[in-house]
């Protein structure tokens, strides 16, 4: 049965290709169309093929646009529903013509598509939160979850189908999601997507010459003339290794998944129906699913059986690579075309391009950072050489050392610290500049330090109105006197009714929040041993009586009273307004502030809000949003609306200045809560350990002054440096920005309970 249907589909495909050719479609466009059609499951694929064929007879030009829309719809609908949707589209086409058809397929919003959704399905977005916690729990890493037709990962994001309706019961569909996610995690944990590729092609005679160009999985697979075959083989061989890993790590999951494997096995075609080459790959599926092949396995596969199944005990992804080369070589010698069968739904197919893209993006990000730095360096007005008398110049010139490397820009030789140099060597491109070894420079050349150049620019600024603070230099183990100038200034109010919008947006949680804080506020704390109060403290009275008997004068503190207002707290919120907070972070910070103000107004804790940003040590801006004395007035609300991302994060000076501000209030508990999105970083040398050490020192200073600092950050890498900077348990990492407004109030509550 299967065979006849397939041959019909293949005939249709041939007709479609013919029609496209007749309509002057380029070869590559035809391939793209075929590839897209092939992406889909059996049922929708067939319907889509019919539809494309019909269109190719009359209006072939709309085929690519149509396919694009189908792809989008496939993110919402599962295969069976998609087939229904395509049916309807075909009816519209034949009944109402091309315009109506185009209108129908262009309507891809969820409401419209709901009509095609059958029941008993599980949507990814309904379980994303649970799934994300599950993945974080099992892996300890922060993966994002996104949708795609097949499960795959680029090592940062796990892609899963938007809907699953394979099974009647939602819990079975959830199991499939978990299984898919676990498999993707296993790929990352076992390193199968980033294997050591040196020598991996050994034995693949015609490919060895290409070894040079191989950097990642994508270029690796390009070395195989039959790329698809190689990728399918890899996905399968890898599954053997991952299975063992998962059985060890998540035995319960694998046990529950075992019946699934059986079911999938029963659905697989028998090897006797397939071409020899296809049967080779399909046979491995059978080995993986049940350990034995359905039908007669090709001789070549039987030879490799032991080698393949031994991958269950593979310790290194390299073993997969060498097995892959062996299998590939055996497979290409077999007769027939390779016709990919449907992949096992929970394995999916690896996406080497996606992995490679992610890796490249990471490398590029690094490169961009450096380039940004260099670009700024180029923009800096370099002091004209010899313009000032040398003794007065900050930019000291030193004779070059032959063994050192210098960055040569605009005729200057600049010495840098190792971090910059490493980035340069990491492949960053510096326009107008190059790295030159000292020995290659003309004799008598001089060099200047990068830091000096930056400082030279800085001294140009006046120091009026600013307050000078010391900065800690951990290299020297000493303070730099009056190093940073902090300018306190009013923040320009914004025009938008941001506060009102936020309150509207969070209407539900604001009500809830009020209730929670109300209880916190009216917390009736019974205090014993008071001089006066509502009731007698029996213990204290007995004690006093005993004291009397014993001839001691009693203390007389024999009452209990309810203390309603033990809260004597002043809190200063210090907001990171650096450029990196642009976008969602900035909005979330502002929303968090609005909710916080609501809560604090209710609670009666005294609070102030300041923002900071800056560029270089001579311009640390400290923005006044709300002082301790001010009420939560209209003006304050407008200033919150006016919070915008600015420059850099030089954290030490604003923290020290916050202590000065906190000194002006009397409170038993003084709190400084910093909201930040990353590590301290400013122009020049204020980065890496230097910035962290100065910030840490500033925090230690303010702690000595009786202020307790606390940091709320959304930087995922924060656990690398925050414990050192703020101290264990003095910070909290919010894993997702959008959660910040919801969490901050809870955090504050916990902090001051």
């Amino acid at each position: 049965m299967q065979a006849t249907i397939d041959s019909y589909a293949e005939r249709l495909m041939g007709e479609l290709i013919k029609n496209l050719r007749l309509n002057f479609f380029e070869n590559q466009d035809i391939i793209a169309i075929i590839d897209t059609i092939d992406m889909f499951d059996h049922a929708p694929r067939r319907k889509l093929l019919v539809l494309c064929f019909i269109l190719s007879e009359a209006t072939p030009s709309i085929i690519p646009g149509m396919l694009k829309r189908v792809k989008r719809v496939a993110l919402t609908l599962d295969p069976d529903d998609l087939a229904k949707w395509i049916d309807t589209a075909a009816e519209v086409l034949s009944g109402q013509g091309t315009d109506a058809f185009f209108q129908f397929i262009s309507n891809v919003d969820t409401e419209h598509l709901k009509a095609f959704v059958s029941l008993e399905r599980l949507r990814l977005k309904d379980i994303t939160d649970t799934l994300q916690l599950y993945i974080k729990g099992i892996s300890g890493h922060d993966f994002s979850v996104s949708t795609d037709i097949e499960p795959s990962t680029d090592m940062d994001t796990i892609y899963l189908p938007a809907v699953l309706s394979r099974f009647k019961r939602p819990e079975d569909n959830l199991l499939v999601y978990l299984l898919m996610a676990a498999h993707k995690w296993a790929q990352v944990a076992c390193g199968t997507l980033t294997p050591d590729m040196s020598g991996a092609l050994a034995g693949l005679a015609y490919a060895e010459s290409q070894e040079e160009g191989i950097q990642d999985l994508e270029t690796f697979f390009n070395a195989f003339p039959q790329r698809e075959l190689a990728i399918d083989l890899f996905t399968l061989l890898e599954a053997f290794m991952l299975d063992t890993f998962l059985w060890r790590e998540l035995p319960g999951l694998m046990e529950r998944a075992a019946p699934l494997k059986d079911e999938v096995y029963n659905e697989r075609p028998s090897l006797d129906e397939l071409s020899e080459k296809t049967a080779f790959v399909e046979g491995i599926y059978h080995y993986y699913l049940r350990g034995a092949a359905k039908g007669t396995a090709p001789e070549a596969l039987l030879h490799l059986h032991d080698r393949i199944t031994a991958l269950r005990h593979a310790a290194d992804p390299q073993e997969i690579m060498s097995a892959l080369v062996a299998c590939y070589q055996a497979a290409v010698k077999l007769t027939g075309e390779y016709e990919p069968q449907r992949p096992v739904f929970f394995l999916g197919t690896i996406k080497p391009d996606r992995v490679a893209k992610r890796l490249r993006a990471k490398r590029n990000e690094m490169k961009r950072k450096l380039e940004g730095m260099i670009e700024k360096l180029l923009k800096m007005p370099l002091p004209e050489r010899r313009q000032h008398r040398r003794s007065h110049s900050i930019v000291h010139e030193h004779p070059v050392k032959p063994e050192q490397e210098y960055l040569v820009i605009k005729g200057q030789n600049i010495a840098m610290d190792d971090t910059v140099k490493d980035k340069l060597k990491g492949g960053a491109v510096v326009s107008e500049g190059r790295l030159v070894k000292g020995s290659n420079l003309a004799s008598g050349s001089v060099y200047v330090n990068l830091e000096d150049i930056i400082r030279a620019e800085e001294v140009g600024r006046t120091q009026q109105d600013g307050i000078a603070y010391d900065e800690w230099d951990y290299h020297r183990g000493d303070y730099k006197k009056d190093w940073c100038i902090v300018y306190e200034q009013d923040l320009q109010p914004g025009d938008e009714p941001f506060v009102e919008q936020t309150l509207k947006r969070y209407r539900g949680s604001v009500a809830q929040l009020r209730k929670k804080f109300e209880t916190l506020k009216t917390i009736r704390q019974k205090v014993r041993k008071q001089k006066d109060g509502d009731a007698i403290d029996l213990d204290a009275a007995v004690e006093a009586l005993s004291d009397l008997h014993a001839g001691l004068s009693p203390e007389g503190m024999i009452y209990t009273s309810f203390n309603r207002n033990t809260r004597d707290i002043a809190v200063l919120f210090l907001l990171d307004m650096s450029g990196s907070t642009k976008g969602w972070v900035n909005v979330a910070e502002k929303e968090a502030l609005v909710l916080m103000c609501e809560a604090l107004e209710l609670l009666g804790d005294r609070y102030a809000i300041y923002g900071f940003s800056g560029m270089t040590r001579t311009r640390c801006d400290y923005f006044h949003i709300k002082s301790f004395r001010e009420g939560y007035a209209e003006e304050v609300k407008r200033r919150i609306a006016g919070i915008t991302p600015r420059d850099y994060t030089r954290m030490g000076a604003p923290i020290r200045h916050s202590a000065t501000v906190l000194k002006t209030v009397e409170a038993r508990t003084k709190l400084l809560i910093a909201l930040s999105d990353g590590r301290p970083e400013d122009w020049g040398s204020y980065k890496g350990d230097y910035g962290i050490e100065d910030t840490r020192k500033a925090l230690l200073e303010i702690r000595e002054q009786g202020i307790r600092p606390f940091c709320i950050t959304i930087d995922r890498e924060a656990s690398l440096y925050l414990p050192h900077m703020f101290g264990e348990s003095n910070f909290i990492v919010i894993d997702e920005v959008r959660k910040l407004p919801g969490r901050i109030v809870e955090i504050y509550r916990g902090l001051t309970l």
């Binding site: 599950y134 035995p251 529950r256 008997h549 656990s719």
Partner: protein, 273 residues
């Protein structure tokens, strides 16, 4: 659990007679011993349920000293620790508090969760915790000099993030601090097997689960599963409860009330057992 008769013993006569099971993980026994020999008081810090109290029991047994434990709370007054006069018939009688008893009998006084105590109470231990080793009893106009066998130990959990409950520098700087964390995987397995007699494989799975809950600390859990919770779960399993159910009630539900989190934990349990 050994006898059914209820036995009442005086605080200062509470000796641990049988060797408590304690698996050393970081050389803490030797450190404690050195501290004790040098009369340095000890601060045990670490998350809940990772063996601080058990360690104290073990050391008390080892040195054959009575162990006097006081669980601190926010109403704990100086009198509760030092002692008070009580009326008996026509006269008043002085009754020593647990701290005084320990000082006199040369016992180990263990103030559990010291940060919970009232701030004015915490300071009475100061003169006991430095070179003076004395306990002033104001009401009686006496100063007690501690017996040479006396040891003061306090515990505290640095994970609590309340500003109002922090250990003051003047207190903490009197102590030698021993840090306790969740034991390493193989140690934790051994502990669970020893404490409950559960099979090795189940213990490993419980520890696996605990590690996964500890992964979630920043994502919504305040603390991960403690060894104590694992032991509870293991005991339930030993009594014939299904491991999944046991992990749910003894661990997941004990950790959080958050619905979303419970669902995720439940899925992790289903994936493990």
């Amino acid at each position: 659990m050994k006898t059914n008769t209820v036995r009442s013993i005086k605080t200062e006569e509470y000796f641990i007679e049988e060797e408590p099971y304690y698996l050393e993980t970081n050389g803490e026994k030797a450190l404690f011993e050195a501290a004790y020999r040098n009369r340095i008081p000890v601060l045990l810090k670490g998350p809940t349920g990772c063996g601080k109290t058990r360690f104290m029991e073990y050391m008390a047994w080892k040195f054959k000293r009575p162990l006097i434990t006081v669980s601190c709370h926010d109403d704990l007054t100086v009198s509760d620790l030092v002692g008070r006069y009580l009326i008996q018939g026509e006269e008043t009688v002085w009754v020593d508090g647990p701290l005084t008893r320990a000082v006199k009998s040369g016992g180990f006084c263990y103030l559990d969760e010291i940060v919970e105590a009232r701030k004015d109470t915490t300071v009475v231990i100061h003169p006991l915790a430095d070179h003076r080793r004395i306990l002033p009893i104001e009401k009686r106009g006496e100063i007690l000099s501690a017996s040479s066998d006396f040891l003061l130990a306090i515990s505290y959990n640095p994970g609590y993030q309340s500003v109002l409950k922090d250990l003051k520098q003047s207190t903490r700087q009197r102590f030698l601090a021993l840090e306790f964390t969740y034991p390493k995987r193989e140690f934790e397995v051994e502990i669970i097997v020893h404490e409950t007699g559960i099979d090795m494989r189940s213990a490993e799975l419980l520890v696996s689960f605990a590690e996964k809950t500890r992964n979630l600390i920043e994502a919504g859990l305040t603390e991960g599963a403690s060894t104590r919770l694992l032991i509870h779960a293991a005991r339930l399993i030993r009594s014939g409860i299904d491991p999944k159910r046991a992990s749910e009630v003894a661990i997941a539900e004990a950790l959080t009330d958050d619905h979303e989190m419970l669902r995720a934990l439940s899925e992790i349990i289903q994936s493990l057992f």
